[in-house]
Amino acid sequence: MQRIGVFICWCGSNIAATVDVEKVSEVIKQEKGVVFATNYQYMCSENGQQIIKNAIKEYNLTGIVIGSCSPRMHEATFRKAAQAAGLNPYMVEVANIREHCSWIHKDRAEATEKAIILVRTAIAKVLLNTPLAEGESPVTKRALVIGGGIAGIQTALDIAEAGFEVDIVEKNATIGGRMAQIDKTFPTLDCSACILTPKMVDCAQNEKIDILSYSEIESVQGFVGNFTVTIRKKARYVDENKCTGCKVCMQYCPSKKGLNEFNMNMNTRTAIYIPFAQAIPNVAVIDPEQCIKLKTGKCGVCKLKCSAGAINYDMKDEFIERKYGAIVVATGFKPIDLDNFNEYAYKDSKDVITSLELERLMNAAGPTNGVLLRPSDNAHPKDITFIQCVGSRDVSGCGKPYCSKICCMYTAKHAMLIREKYPDTRVHVFYIDVRTPGKNYDEFYRRAVEQYDVDYIKGMVGKVFPMANGKLLVQGSNLLDNEQIFIESDLVVLATAIEPEPSVRKIATLLATSIDTNNFLTEAHPKLRPVESPTAGIYLAGVCQGPRDIPETVSMASACAAKVIGLLVKDKLKTNPCIALTNENMCNGCSQCANVCAYGAISYIEKEFRLGGGKTEVRRVSYVNPAVCQGCGACTVTCPSGAIDLKGFSSKQIMSEVETICKK
């Protein structure tokens, strides 16, 4: 005979304001199987849990139902409390009377009635619960970081610091990411490369860190603690172990017209190249689209000149399979394409550039060696206009609805740097709002306005007209003066919105983790679990989760590392006991269940059955591997003989819930 206890939570006034909790517990007391029912202000509190524990012991309860917030919130809390009182934690059911009841209904009578039905439904389920025991699975003590920008670098360094092995998979030929392209960082104006490159070197020298550059994720299998990942190491046609990074090949390569991606395509590079001087690994790579030897078979100059013998034109993509306990996604961002923004004449004029292009133009290692020159005629620009929110906060559908967060600060930085270096330049900034929350950020922006006399204009730009004299006419509105203004400019800089690196979509699919409508990866909880993905064992660092600047990215990376270390120090993980189980007597070995299992958890075994009269027969029956089964239940519905059921969500339990809801 089952003895059920019911505990209704007020959640302060969150539930009690709309649901008559007294009435619910009174009515529920009359239910079949219920021997105890009560209500309390905060069931999740220490006192509330004590009430549960005491009742379990006093009334010798065999199952409990908590009417409270969502089980996604406190199911674990109540299971722990039950366990502490000696009750199997899987004999606990939560009726969601907050999110699914009190918060969405205003009528007290209606909400109370619904709460009663929801609690009854949970009772109907718990009456059919069976005690379950968690299994264990081992943890592979190695982490994978996807993306070698500052987020990936920081995560890897912190994980390695704790003594765990970590691999960085970077799709480009070098790690460093976007931060390597940036000239100076706000609000301190220190040189980006000067603070980033030592960290890159640290990664290369750390024996716990393995950098797999020019590589991509091909497939991912497994689950938290036990991922098996296949990595495609793309052919770079240069032996990484032999290349010394001497760059002699680059001097002799006759194919010199490739666009230099690192400099935002603003100058050219050779077909064999090292992306930038401080690249890690400092190893050349051949662009197969551009290399004469690989395209026509005639050339081979670099091989002739390479004293290390590192060049190998026959190199093929290589596949590496490795096991990991945890995976960190740090895939970063790119500026959006400006195809939808013809009004800014980005395609029509060379002198309309994006902010990232400006970073390269101002960088000492950039295409102009750090001298600010107009791309069209190499003249010094005297009038520079910045346009903010290009594609950000755009609900028209052309751009992105979100704020890219970093643009206000880097535009202030650019304006300030230009005014500092070229005091005769006039700098105008069109803005919708200036958003500068952050330590020393608003002070920084004030400095641009007050100290450096940057002309901030509240308003948006309607159109940029390239003029016959080579200048650009910027037509905009000044909202504060309520007038239309025209500014003749030599250079127009667009603070382009940022979006997640497009490859993240494929990666999210491989990792079976969720992604939002803007292609940002979704966190497990927006406030309390910001660096974990909803998929166990997958963590998120940097802009792949949402727009953020370098300090926030580094904090997030370290937070990820802490989460990963917390996982990897465990020898075993508890596994979800709510998994499929075959009733061997009913199974006829038809293989349907194995066909639908996405995890390959189902195999078949030969088993001997007694037939009676001393006779036996050997039959093929399905076997669910408890370490691999994730408990989705696909097999349970597929089975034509109804031989597989899901523990914790059995057919009988769900049918009983359905009946209770429908009872009139």
């Binding site: 969502s70 999110e99 209904h105 209606e110 699919t509 079976a512 979704t522 769900i654 809801i661 429908c662």
Partner: protein, 149 residues
């Protein structure tokens, strides 16, 4: 004046929600205080593919007026391919229900992600309104042989 019996028809609606997307979406609707009718009652299942067509038949047999099944968007299933099975099974079941004389509007499959609290509330409002319009459902009869076995 003649007294008219004015008993409003309140349909019984069962909503199956997958734990990872739609149940979380329903939670978000709650956190965002987005109302939908109280006659919608949610049953939590690990994945939409856990919902056996039998459960839906059972609901109609027990007196449900509408059954809605919510899962992750195609391609976003927490269990990778679960909702694809749901989609196939339910399209078969729904045409079968139609054949049995249960209007196909009484059943529905919707994809609601964990971030779509507003969509969850909108879907439930819409579905509940539709069921109310359709009126009371004919109860499916259980014609299996009863008695002690």
């Amino acid at each position: 004046m003649q007294e008219v019996e004015n008993k409003e028809f309140i349909p019984t609606i069962v909503a199956f929600c997958c734990n990872w997307c739609s149940y979380a979406g329903a939670d978000l609707a709650g956190t965002s205080r987005l109302e939908y009718p109280a006659n919608v009652k949610i049953i939590r299942v690990p994945c939409s593919c856990r919902v056996n067509p039998m459960f839906i038949l059972k609901a109609f047999q027990s007196g449900a007026d509408g059954v809605i099944l919510c899962g992750c968007h195609p391609g976003d299933c927490h269990y990778m391919t679960g909702n694809y099975y749901t989609r196939r099974r339910m399209s078969l079941l729904f045409s079968f229900l139609n054949y049995l004389g249960i209007e196909k509007e009484r059943t529905r499959v919707e994809w609601v992600s964990a971030a779509e609290g507003a969509r969850f509330s909108m879907v439930m409002n819409d579905f509940a309104a539709k069921i109310k319009e359709l009126g009371e459902n004919k109860r499916l009869q259980d014609l299996r042989i009863k008695g002690d076995r």
